[in-house]
Symmetry: C2
């Protein structure tokens, strides 16, 4: 039986408005993706003006249903929808892609209705899963998360990581809507308009799949109605759409991805076609109010001080072991702390947190991209997530980590088993590039503790940092170097060995600090050496390092178990450029073998004995 014609008439008007503004704003900007907006316009109209429950004047509220535009290149349609809802003015929409306008080419969180930046495809469903977890476990309200995906990005494996875990967690407050417009950027997608091909995959991954014609509101509303009734698992609507729908000159054609219409006749003709669905006197949008209420934002419950690190001065403890203790301390002090691991919790010690705070722990299994995407979603809703796994495997999630950093979110990562000191497992398990890529993150902190006390302290410091960051952790058990009361603020150093008459500054961190100290033990010229424990690489402690190096006449040697590029050496050489007189850099400059840690360190000149030889030469 037919739905009230009035509603459908109005939704057609809203969709026409979305198409109108998308066509016009991209034409004026001279770039953008109007065809990708037009295929999604009817789905967005249904979401914004019938399905979603939200306060259009408070787009950031956790009481609202949330929307993630995973196909970020359709951003103009998203802006148009928020304009039609009354939050943005049409003037603002037409600042699309202008310098310093928040109306960017792809969605950025300068706008309160954007939780996480999108535009690198295949990430939105993981983000949505994180947001849905916040709704279900923190807000405990009945708010829902909707994720609008493109069919092209369904080829990204990260999407299937999110499908799998969302079903496993029975997240029926999460809904995926796939805009199946058949055309990718360069050609037809793998499945074209074969909705069944997508449905088979989605169902096999444990979701309820519904199909509809994405330009027939009867059909769209029926699909949403059914999808909203699905309980115990998430639902996915697969909508058959036409790229560029509504504009005969570009509809369903190749080579119209990411191309605006030309202002003038080309645009005018298109707007005229779209205008056919506009109402002369449209009603004010009747947007369903959120039934949920906005809970007070979680206050920091962080106490003045944390329990001291539980390590005896004479103990031998791996820095990765401090992960468990520090996360436990943080978790007890602040309910915003969440931990996400990828089936390594018994090696990373995140298990301690998982056992104590199971409701704030997410087991992602072996799916690092989804882990990082979920963390971004959680952080976007005010939580402080820690993603924990082997440092080597965080490389797998670099694109998701990059996007969460562009979003300015406080997503923290702890990478264990870094460097060659893991030994026999071999190079595939050794993080040797992690400092290089984490150091590129805007406003990202990068920490690299050398003992369990500093590991505990730096993880606490990273939790306090208002931004993303990384702590690099090691596998071997090493002696305690610092008293339990020692603090490890960002942007500072520790001089762990101050020679009486220093002529040479040694800079290192992590396990190698211990090799350096052993190298200096009973060394006749130990008094000529000063050793900096560079536990913080970013923000770089420029003044302190420069002063120390200046005191040794600009003579510096760096030892690090990282690739020569992007690690400690390059951070020091660049920060001190112009202040260095004599430079030695020992790093992992070729593919390491699989062998005992000591032998591996020696093979790269990073063992106590080989470091001792090197220092003897330099001091001769």
């Amino acid at each position: 039986m037919s739905r009230q014609p009035a509603l459908i008439r109005e939704l057609k008007h809203r969709a026409a408005r979305i198409r109108w503004m998308s066509l016009k704003s991209t034409a004026q900007a001279g770039s953008g993706h109007p065809t990708s907006c037009n295929s999604a316009a009817d789905l967005l109209a249904a979401l914004f003006f019938h399905v979603m429950r939200y306060d259009p004047q408070n787009p950031g509220s956790s009481a609202n249903d949330r929307l993630v535009l995973s196909k970020g290149h359709a951003a103009p349609a998203l802006y148009a929808a928020w304009c039609e809802a009354g939050y943005l003015t049409e003037e603002q929409v037409y600042t699309l892609r202008q310098m310093n306008s928040p109306i960017e080419g792809h969605p950025m969180p300068y706008l309160p209705f954007v939780d996480v930046a999108t535009g690198s495809l295949g990430q939105g469903l993981s983000v949505g899963l994180g947001i849905a977890l916040h709704q279900a476990k923190v807000m405990k309200n009945d708010a829902r998360t909707f994720v609008l995906l493109g069919d092209g990005e369904m080829a990204e494996g990260s999407v299937w990581e999110a499908f799998a875990l969302a079903a496993h967690l029975k997240m029926d407050n999460l809904m995926a809507i796939v805009d199946v417009n058949r055309l990718g950027q360069s050609r037809e997608t793998m499945h074209g308009h074969d909705l069944r091909a997508y449905a088979r995959k989605v169902e096999a991954f444990g979701w309820e799949a519904l199909t509809c014609n994405g330009h027939d509101f009867e059909d769209i509303l029926t699909a949403f109605q059914r999808a909203l009734k699905v309980k115990g698992k998430p639902a996915c609507i697969l909508a058959k759409t036409i790229k560029g729908y509504g504009v005969s000159a570009i509809a369903d054609l190749d080579n119209w991805h990411g191309k605006p219409l030309k202002p003038g006749p080309e645009l005018d003709k298109a707007l005229e076609e779209v205008a056919a669905d506009l109402m002369k006197t449209p009603p004010k949008p009747s947007i369903p109010k959120p039934s949920a209420t906005q809970a007070p934002p979680l206050a920091s419950e962080r106490p003045a001080s944390f329990p001291p690190p539980p390590y005896a001065p004479d103990a031998k403890v791996a820095t990765r072991q401090a992960v468990g203790d520090a996360l436990l301390a943080l978790g007890g002090a602040d309910s915003r702390i969440w931990v996400i691991d990828g089936d390594t919790q018994n090696s990373t010690y995140s298990q301690k947190f998982a056992d104590r705070y199971p409701d704030r722990f997410v087991e992602c299994f072996i799916a690092e991209q989804n882990m990082a995407g979920i963390a971004a979603g959680l952080a976007a809703r005010g939580l402080i997530p820690f993603g924990v796994t082997f440092g080597a495997f965080l490389a797998r999630a670099f694109d998701q980590i990059r996007m969460s950093a562009l979003s300015g979110l406080p997503v923290k990562f702890l990478g264990t088993h870094a460097g060659i000191s893991i030994g026999e497992d071999g190079p595939s398990q050794m993080a040797l590039e992690d400092l290089a890529f984490f150091r590129t993150l805007p406003n990202g902190a990068v920490l690299y503790p050398s003992d369990a006390v500093s590991a505990y302290g730096t993880i606490l410091a990273l939790a306090r940092h208002n931004g993303p960051g990384y702590v690099r952790l090691s596998r071997p058990a090493t002696p305690i170097l610092y008293p339990v009361g020692e603090q490890f603020p960002l942007g500072e150093i520790k001089i762990i060995h101050a020679g009486k008459a220093p002529k040479l500054t040694v800079i290192s961190a992590g396990v190698i600090i211990h090799e350096v100290l052993r190298a200096l033990k009973d060394h006749p010229n130990a008094h000529q050496v000063q050793v900096i424990d560079l536990y913080c690489l970013k923000p770089f402690p420029t003044a302190q390092v420069a002063e120390a190096v200046g005191a040794t006449g600009g003579r510096v040697v760096v030892f690090e178990e990282h690739a020569p590029a992007g690690g400690i050496g390059e951070a020091v050489a660049t920060a001190l450029a112009g202040k260095i007189r004599e430079w030695t850099h020992v790093a992992v400059d070729r593919v390491p073998r699989s062998g005992p840690p000591e032998a591996l360190l020696a093979s790269f000149g990073l063992s106590a004995s080989t470091i001792r030889e090197r220092l003897t030469q330099l001091l001769a």
Copy 2:
């Protein structure tokens, strides 16, 4: 009806030998994953001694069926199988994890039966797809590729990227075998022993799924028999196994991942149990010979010289445009050249190659991890693959790129649309970290041309480089700077502006070179400036840069559209550490906005006018 008992008796013996050596070698090494070996031992015995057709004395042959051990941590079982086949001695097997032994903790290509390093999970099926493509399209023989996966890694999205494309390409010479032993590293997997859950996914992705008891040879052989008959699509065998099978003390138990048995009673008891299946007088293995013959390896058909780059001196051409022309020239000269793109061929210009050489082009759709894994598989079989997409999206494949570099494979990547000069599309599309991560690759070349002629030349140079590498390419059309005859060898520089009396060295590359040249145009002190076009960042042209910088008294300024970390600035500052007297570094030090390229460049001090101001200050 029952199979000949003799065969099954023999296979049980082979499996017992594999378990015996796996238990013993890991116990002696004091580390490793014996339980993961034991679950797979029967599957490996069936593969090595009944299913696979290969020459055990020529493990690298392309005439052989190929095996990829995606669950690389079961390496000891792989070594044991090759020992039982007669290629390795038992003594060699027991050098497991000893320094400089090729019998490493995870498989490395020092061994001719290892095509690509595994150990970072979820990559083997993509590699296998690459190898299967080589068999089908280059060898054109009936050799097959078998990929043994663990159930834990089925959570990695990259696996599903490979499943999807292999079905799309109807690769019935590719077979996946999943060792479903229920237990991950830290806990039970998402699906435990639910083979149907995996079968539903595999079938939905277009494969034929078969299930079996992975410890019942009747069942295993039947599954292989049926799988080998599947035509027109790939087949996947899902085998229910027990982790640690055959050793009662560890079988099917938690907390036995990656733990060896203790030499002495614990090991002896286990070996005694396993020995029950050993034959007193085992027959010599009867290994099916490959029906295919090893074709002569593809000779390089590279001519003495390539056609010159087709650019008029007064033309404005984007460096990315040279991708199409250079790949076309390479493709015509050398049949080993393959190109793999991720639905960006119309923006990266790889379309030119795709149109001319469709049999050597692989469209991966939007799945960069699979793209990199396929490239590694192709390179392992002697081809020279170029992976092409936006530089920003190569971050998605960093782990696969890392593993192919550890494998020493000549996998080349071309990343377009690098830096903020892409403009309005915004930060999600801007590669700002690509130099940092590509510079970490062992033996990796990193090139960054500034005009179409040098882009053409550097892509040719990268093809000749015997190792991995990357060329960073830009979106904007820029003037031609070099004569078409100019060569661009690795490890050198071009002085694009030699001041008459240089007092300051400007180092840059790519689009920014043009901004620098415009900044110097009619600048009163242009004669005091020398400009280095650093088109090659790795191998770094240390001597040439040092000489040039020395000539300006160690005064250097670097302009780059990359994050401050890991790019041109840090490469220069480190290579010249101790030789720099005055240092200025201008880079993309915060999140860029979405806007016109000129405005974006200006906002970071990288436009002609802002560079001109900076130079005026420095020369004052």
